[in-house]
Amino acid sequence: MNTQFRKGAIEMCILALIDHRDRYGYELVQAIAVYMEINEGTVYPILRRLTQEGYVSTYLMESPHGPARKYYQATPSGKKHLESLKAEWSALAHVVGSILGGDENDQK
């Protein structure tokens, strides 16, 4: 699949996953890797950028098993960004779906 396309989709998935609840890196990567085959090391760079853009905030929390973990949390602007990404995505999915399904062909 087109890498640019994938990257955008992964970005959206990351936001959606931490929108439900705060997650730490390994957990987040694991959650995505269940559904998609990705280069797991590239999730962190995306998280860093989302943090710099103000869509995601982080905090450290002690874990019962070892050293502190960094948790990622969606900010209000991140939630807003996610909503617009979702809207764009479903609009595109709808159009592509109709074209692939051939619904539009009859009308022209």
Binding site: Q4, G8, E11, G25, A33, G41, P45, K70
Partner: protein
């Protein structure tokens, strides 16, 4: 590859590109990932494999950092850095920035050439007159001297213009470049639109800027700077 080998490789690919604090913060993240992997009974080499080639991971981090810099501060240096970094993982964005870079280079080279020619003509005129000075009346000498000085002055004006225009152009290009990249990020599913967006991007900003600069700068004595006006516009038009 063990955890330590992986972190070392990552650090060596990152150092020199981004600040030390950022590098150590990034290493902290990946160390945590290895530790969490170990908690899940994962061998270090398995975790390393999951993460992928540290060089590739570093390249992506560096690319993101440079693009961020170029967006915040579109200087020539940052632009070229970002362009180089983008090349690593996004050929499309790189290709989109090529015409801008070419136009910028062409424009500056053209203007510099005019500057050099004018300086050269001034020097030639001056030395020529000096050599013939003994044979000519003093009034002719004065006239020639003034002409030469005028040509020099025109040359300097053009140099000033070149610098001013370049600065504007770099800023403008930077904004456009950043826009192309941001568009690409913001709306990845419609990546196709990017090219058309970029084509539609009006040139007027720079043309609108030029006349004001032309009138804003000290009025050149001779008619010589004029060739530069249509010249530069032609270059920036396509």
């Amino acid at each position: 590859m063990t955890k330590n080998e992986y972190l070392k490789a990552l650090a060596s690919s990152l150092n020199g590109h981004i600040s030390r604090e950022e590098v150590s913060d990034i290493l902290r993240d990946y160390r945590e990932f290895f530790d969490d992997g170990a908690l899940q009974q994962e061998e270090e080499w398995q975790t390393a494999q999951r993460l992928g080639d540290p060089k590739e991971v570093a390249a992506q981090i560096v690319a993101e950092a440079y693009i961020g810099q170029a967006q915040k501060k579109p200087t020539m240096k940052n632009l070229f850095k970002a362009q180089g970094a983008v090349k690593i993982y996004s050929t499309a964005a790189f290709v989109a920035s090529i015409p801008l870079m070419l136009a910028m280079t062409g424009l500056s080279l053209g203007m510099l050439l005019i500057f050099l020619l004018l300086t050269l003509s001034a020097i030639l005129l001056f030395t020529g007159i000096l050599m013939a000075a003994s044979a000519l009346p003093s009034s002719a000498l004065w006239l020639a001297g003034i002409t030469a000085a005028g040509a020099l002055f025109a040359a300097l004006t053009i140099l000033l213009l070149v610098i001013m225009m370049l600065r504007r152009f770099v800023k403008w290009t930077g904004g456009l470049f950043a826009k192309v990249i941001t568009k690409k990020r913001a709306a990845p599913p419609s990546a196709q639109e990017d090219a058309s967006q970029y084509d539609e991007m009006e040139i007027p900003p720079i043309i609108a800027v030029q006349p004001s600069q032309q009138t804003g700068s000290p009025a050149p004595e001779s008619t010589q700077p004029d060739p530069s006006l249509p010249d530069s516009q032609e270059v920036s038009e396509p």
